[in-house]
Symmetry: C2
Subunit: 158 residues, 2 copies
DNA sequence: TATTGTTATACTCTATAACTATA
DNA sequence: TATAGTTATAGAGTATAACAATA
């Protein structure tokens, strides 16, 4: 199991690549995500939206009038956790909680004009950044990466 | 931009797959990781190690006598954050902080026999679980997934 | 002066449980 | 009774800054 039993090892790239961890999908996914997320933050800038806030805004743009509970479900988080996210987006003036006639428990989420503009600008920056990050990958490789990640995502129920 | 402007949309799988977010690598990586991490927790059991503690133990097994600062660097976290992780592993009796003759600032991390046994058992469970999770992927697809994730990981410096 | 490990502290993300107002 | 949204609270995981011991 031990790949290196010399005392006071210095870790070269080769050695690091043969460690057990490197053969696990979870570890590789997490490390890759950390890098992509750092690039996301660079793309949106120092005072830009966090990834989860951007995601929530993106989904309200794609699905206007979505309810908080539905949005939480799509995002895979608890509805309680969404409150602060929506509060933040509302404070930015990027969306509104609109009353729904017929059921006063529900508030439909609708992006404002400013929200739409801010979203489209951020989306452009993020896409450009991902484009550059993935510039070493061919078109086929990118398609394959997406297909494989989505295949894993579909395993949720088991 | 809006794919669905009907009021009170219910989100079918098809609609969800065409949202902007679905075209971003970061979002897909994160969602895939969440699923794999949940399977990791199932594999190691209710009172099993967390992923980061497992990772630290794995790396001390692969690189016995590694220092905390080197381990933190490999894991991509701050050295201050590693203290609690090593404390936990030491409390389990899975590793020891061993003094290094010649430099009393440094403590080399060495797995115990129990640590090695616990690690190998956990590694087996995690590998089996990942195996089952990825059973829909062909051998080539898995190799490709690893290759693409590692390619992204190598983009760190830019 | 610089480095290793440590502590104190704070921030982000998330979950659980209980509450409210409605249905 | 059940549901949508909210609040309170706690627990991971991480980072920054300052410190002690040692080099």
């Amino acid at each position: 199991m031990a790949k290196n039993s010399s005392k006071f090892a210095t870790l070269g790239q080769q050695e690091a690549d043969t460690a057990d961890l490197e053969s696990l999908v979870g570890y590789n996914l997490k490390r890759a995500y950390i890098i992509v997320e750092a690039h996301f933050r660079e793309a949106v800038g120092k005072d830009g939206m966090s990834a989860r806030v951007f995601s929530a805004l993106s989904l309200t743009v794609s699905y206007p009038n979505i309810t908080q509970i539905a949005l939480a479900r799509v995002m895979g988080i608890e509805r309680s956790g969404l409150v602060a996210i929506v509060d933040e987006l509302e404070a930015y003036g990027y969306l509104q909680r609109a009353p729904v006639p017929g059921d006063r428990r529900i508030q439909a989420l609708v992006p404002t004009e400013e929200g739409l503009a801010a979203y489209n600008e951020a989306l452009g920056l993020v896409r450009d950044k991902e484009e550059r990050l993935l510039s070493d990958l061919t078109g086929v490789e990118r398609q394959t990466l997406f297909a494989l990640l989505k295949k894993i995502r579909r395993m949720e129920e088991d």
